[in-house]
């Protein structure tokens, strides 16, 4: 069913055709009155939502199964579009800051410099790593591959890791302020936190390493006490939370599927 074509010309023609048809659909939708647009969304959502459970619950290899792969491809294409939409949105937001010279102007400039340099370097690294540069020797990296390494491993990696690491400082500061033992429950939480925190670092293992590894005393070792807390106390708690969230998710999915979510069904739109 719908096997990919190997002919590049036919593929290009199909892509061009798909773009033209999509644009026409968009124009027609845009020109339609809001209630028609709403009904289109409702019907498409209902049919899309109906397909997956029907295909799953009717015994395998039914009349819907043949559409599974094309729908899987469609989802991947849609996911690709979301990346494009995200980029477009960023360009509009930061472009506005840049053109209007708002107070956030330097950040938007930094975005454009970062975005454009990364995009250009990545494309050249992938497709033309020696473009406008001397051909790399046997034990040398091509120019644009080296540039990619500088940007990705030398800049992006340490920058994002640094931002993530800043959390450590905020978490310690917040824990210091919030973790006050005023009640029995807070005391229990504190005791559990001490055990788990110490067990998660070698210091904790070292502190109780003098205790035996066999017999009931082994449960006093931080790593064993933490494992017990995690598997015997945390697991059932997390399972019930996950179960509750799953039931809630099912309810939310039903509401979206039946277009009962007002915000989703576009309200006045």
């Amino acid at each position: 069913m719908l096997t990919p074509l190997q002919d590049a010309t036919v593929n290009l023609a199909l892509v061009a055709g798909a773009i033209v048809v999509s644009l026409m659909v968009l124009v027609v939708l845009h020109a339609s009155p809001p209630y028609i647009r709403r009904w289109v969304i409702v019907v498409v959502t209902f049919l899309a939502g109906l397909y997956v459970p029907l295909e799953f619950f009717i015994p395998r290899h039914n009349f819907l199964t043949v559409w599974r792969d094309p729908i899987g491809d469609l989802v991947r294409v849609l996911a690709g579009f979301t990346i494009g939409l995200g980029i477009l949105n960023l360009l509009i937001v930061h472009g506005r800051h840049l053109l209007q010279r708002t107070t956030n102007f330097p950040f938007s400039l930094a975005f454009f410099v970062g975005f454009l340099s990364m995009t250009v370097v990545e494309f050249l690294h992938r497709y033309k790593p020696d473009l406008w540069a001397k051909k790399a020797g046997a034990d040398q990296l091509p120019f644009w591959t080296a540039a990619h390494k500088v940007l990705f491993e030398g800049m992006l990696l340490p920058l994002t890791s640094t931002v993530f690491s800043l959390l450590a400082f905020f978490i310690v500061s917040a824990a210091y302020r919030a973790f006050r033992i005023r009640t029995l429950e807070a005391g229990l939480l504190m005791a559990a936190a001490i055990v788990v925190m110490l067990a998660n670092v070698p210091v904790g293992t070292w502190l109780t390493s003098w205790l035996p590894t066999e017999g009931w005393l082994k449960w006093l070792r931080f790593e064993n006490a933490a494992l017990w807390l995690t598997t015997q106390i945390n697991t059932p708690t997390m399972r019930s939370i996950l179960f509750g969230a799953a039931v809630g998710g099912l309810g939310a999915a039903l509401r979206i599927w039946l277009s009962l979510e007002r915000s989703f069904a576009a309200g006045s739109q």
């Binding site: 849609l78 450590a168 210091y176 998660n200 210091v203 293992t205 390493s209 945390n234």
Partner: protein, 281 residues
């Protein structure tokens, strides 16, 4: 005595800049002074190790690189430890990611380790790159690897990569080792595990660790590596001390600093309460 009491009461409102400084010193200290402490592998990590050992001959391991540079600090050492284990046992592997940066990061680790263990791209490992589309795309991947990802991360057709000749569906995969900082595990449980019974093992960040334990308990996860500690424990099983172990030392002192500050804050609060009680306010 009164001065001491007032000094202790002061601990309940330490300036946040001092807290930041304490944390910075605690984290930086192990880089200056060498500290060596024991790491004892826990059961979930041992299970992960055993799951890798049990991969049947002729099958590949799928490295699901679902993380990005933000959580590289924890997921990076985890993946490197597992890759080293795979290369030692000459187990071929395929890299795939539902995040854009993950496969790129794992490729750099694999290339570095491949030089040491004589692994060759295309023959012993392949990188299929980023797979958009979430769970539905993964389901399609399980049924047909070649139709879902006809090329590798550098757009080379799979026909040019000898390893991929024996990887057609999820049935050719002996283990999925997933590394993430977000909650995407259900995607793999509902596809690879539920539909094809491919064993799953996960390396996750410390912050989402508690959410993953129920899957270990039910047997849907064959092994679990939580945070940097998990990576250090895996290295201990491999009898090496690499990034996981090295990064544990700053984390150790960071945890100690956090605990001391919390205890000091409570000490200050108790002293202040005692003073109020005594004054009969």
């Amino acid at each position: 005595m009164e001065q001491l009491r007032q000094w202790l009461i002061g601990f309940q409102a330490i300036d946040r800049r001092i807290i930041y400084l304490c944390v910075a010193i605690a984290i930086a200290l192990p880089f200056i002074v060498a500290v060596r402490l024991p790491v004892i592998p826990t059961l979930p990590v041992q299970k992960f190790y055993e799951a890798v050992e049990k991969v049947p001959k002729g099958k590949v391991v799928l490295i699901a690189a679902d993380f990005d540079t933000g959580t590289e600090g924890e997921n990076g050492p985890q993946v490197q430890a597992v890759l080293e284990h795979l290369m030692r046992s000459r187990t071929p592997f395929v890299i795939l990611g539902t995040t854009i940066q993950g496969p790129e990061l794992v490729q750099s680790y694999a290339e570095r380790l491949a030089r040491r263990y004589g692994y060759r791209y295309g023959r012993d490992f392949v990188n299929l790159g980023y797979l958009p589309g979430g769970q539905l795309a993964l389901e399609r991947f399980c049924r047909s690897v070649w139709q879902t990802k006809p090329t590798d991360y550098k757009q080379r057709p799979l026909t040019d990569l000898p390893l991929m000749r024996k990887v057609r569906t999820a049935r050719d995969i002996g283990l999925v080792a997933e590394f993430t900082g977000s909650g995407v595990l259900p995607w793999y449980v509902q596809t690879f595990w539920a539909q094809f019974k491919v064993p799953l093992a996960q390396g996750c960040t410390g912050i989402i660790g508690p959410e993953q334990f129920p899957y270990l308990d039910t047997g849907q996860l064959s092994g679990l590596m939580v945070g940097l500690k998990g990576a250090a424990e895996y290295e201990a099983l491999l009898k090496v001390q690499r990034e996981g172990y090295r990064r544990m030392m700053p984390q150790s002192l960071g945890h100690i600093a956090a605990l001391l500050l919390i205890l000091l804050g409570n000490l200050g609060m108790w002293m202040a309460r005692r003073q109020i009680r005594r004054a009969g306010i």
